[in-house]
Point group: C3
Chain length 224, copies 3
């Protein structure tokens, strides 16, 4: 089969899917320098960082389209075609959310209130950890195919997915604390800015959710 | 078939689905004591109630995962596997939204402005009525399977789904009125609190929508 | 096949789908007189226009239900049944969003700040262009079926879809500018009204997104 796919696009559909996930993770990770720039109040750097996020998102989108269009007919696939496309879409949503976050921050020239900076950065990091863990699981897909989705490998992946769930729960917890912190600061910040800070916090939480959904989709692929 | 499923997990997949729906309804209904506590300003009781909602949501989630993982391969199922999973997911979203609502209220120690309390409680009750009606329809699933999705039973269920739509329309109407009421109160309430009250109203509306979508999914299952 | 479908509901399933899309576009286009009335501060006209949007949305919904319920079993269909229903649903979401926008504006008796009026109307128009373009592509579906989804026709449709993407990118760009404009006006407008203006802008952007997703769904239908 590998050589068949090679003649279509040089690698199995699993490999482009993993490439896409790598690109999606890069997109999410590009939020780190962006928020560092925000905390430093350096809006030129924020603009550069936002551009980077946007560029990587575009590259991911192009990979997604190419993969989707070149996907062979079902009978050549070691898994259900619809499940595969749903997994691809789940990955894609992580990149989209990263782009939304970057766009929101740049558009408003958002500032993070000083007491929020460290907890937010921890929170953001944890949300990106979820994407890293999602990538780790997706990277197991060829191994899974190879072993026919059976045996020890499934156990390994199941543990990785459990860990992904745990990371997502961490972010939930951290989100509650961050919102609580922000509520205390509300009197001191213009209401519209407050609302957008809540929106930002929610979007970062969504980033983690989407990483977890990617894991869910992989699980469904495994279960069929 | 019943005995086959028994050996897998003690009941047919229809029955666990119905169990899950019962759990989901319990989750939504747990919002009633929560908001009673809110209207009484008793935040200990709110915290307890939120914990309850969260616990039931976790139980529902566990039921969902067990059902999903143990679902037999398509050829043992009296309906399309993907449709079944979509119905399960629609139910799941009701519990998630209940949990979101409880979390929002507790997190902000939200208060309902006095003029809003009664209309809000009516609204909440009507939204939960939608979940009750959704459960009623899902409870018909074994009857539907038994009669091969044909005949009088389909008529009965169709009427129940029409009633579900009607309840959802009620909530739409009530939401418009509630928002209108709140708009009048805006000058007197801090803007951020106002925004979160609109968010709360919207989320309760979403609760009803998700109950209606559950009905839609059942309809799709019936139609195939 | 045409005669078979005729005996079911007088036309092929492609034709009702196109009828539905025409209805959906009418719904979105009904937002134009609505916002004209808003800019003129004529809330009776706004109410009438909102009623019109709501009525058309109801007609679209009825068409959708009829089509979905009468869809024959897969083996009579020249495309995957699930893909067809997803395309229908994508179209449906455009009408729903139009109705949401109209409801929001009427409910709050929203006013557009004077500096926003023209850019907003351009933006709205461009978002509706996306729906027009989506309809143009859906109108090609019978041609596509006729040619077996092969050859020149596919090229033609692909170009139309590329144009749809371009329109959606325009709306993205215009949204960024509009938000930037609004941010400058924030000090002068009550915060809650500000938040709802952002919501309105976002919903109109969503209108364009949903039109683009309709195009995506058509592309998936073509690719299978």
């Amino acid at each position: 089969m590998k050589s068949y796919f090679s003649s279509i696009f040089g690698r199995s559909p699993v490999s482009p899917l993993q490439q896409h996930m790598a690109k999606v993770l890069a997109c999410a990770e590009a939020l780190l320098p962006l928020f560092k720039a925000v905390s430093e109040g350096d809006y030129n750097a924020v603009a550069t960082a936002q551009q980077r996020v946007s560029d990587i998102e575009r590259e991911a989108d192009a990979l997604k389209k190419e993969l989707r269009d070149k996907l062979p007919h079902s009978m050549f696939m070691p898994f259900d075609r619809a499940d595969f496309l749903e997994l691809l879409r789940a990955q894609d949503r992580i990149a989209n959310k990263s782009k939304d976050i970057a766009g929101l921050v740049l558009g408003r020239k958002m500032q993070l209130p000083e007491p929020l900076v460290d907890p937010f950065m921890d929170y953001l990091n944890r949300a990106i950890d979820a994407s890293r863990q999602a990538k780790n699981t997706v990277d197991q897909l060829d191994e899974l195919v190879e072993t026919g989705f059976r045996g020890a490998e499934v156990e390994v992946v199941q543990e990785m997915l459990d860990k992904l769930d745990a990371i997502e729960h961490d972010t939930d917890r951290m989100q509650v604390q961050l919102r609580s912190l922000l509520q205390k600061l509300e009197p001191r910040i213009p209401p519209v800015d407050v609302m957008f800070l809540y929106q930002l916090i929610e979007r970062v939480g969504s980033l983690a959710d989407r990483a977890q959904q990617t894991g869910s989709r992989l699980q469904i692929l495994m279960a069929r």
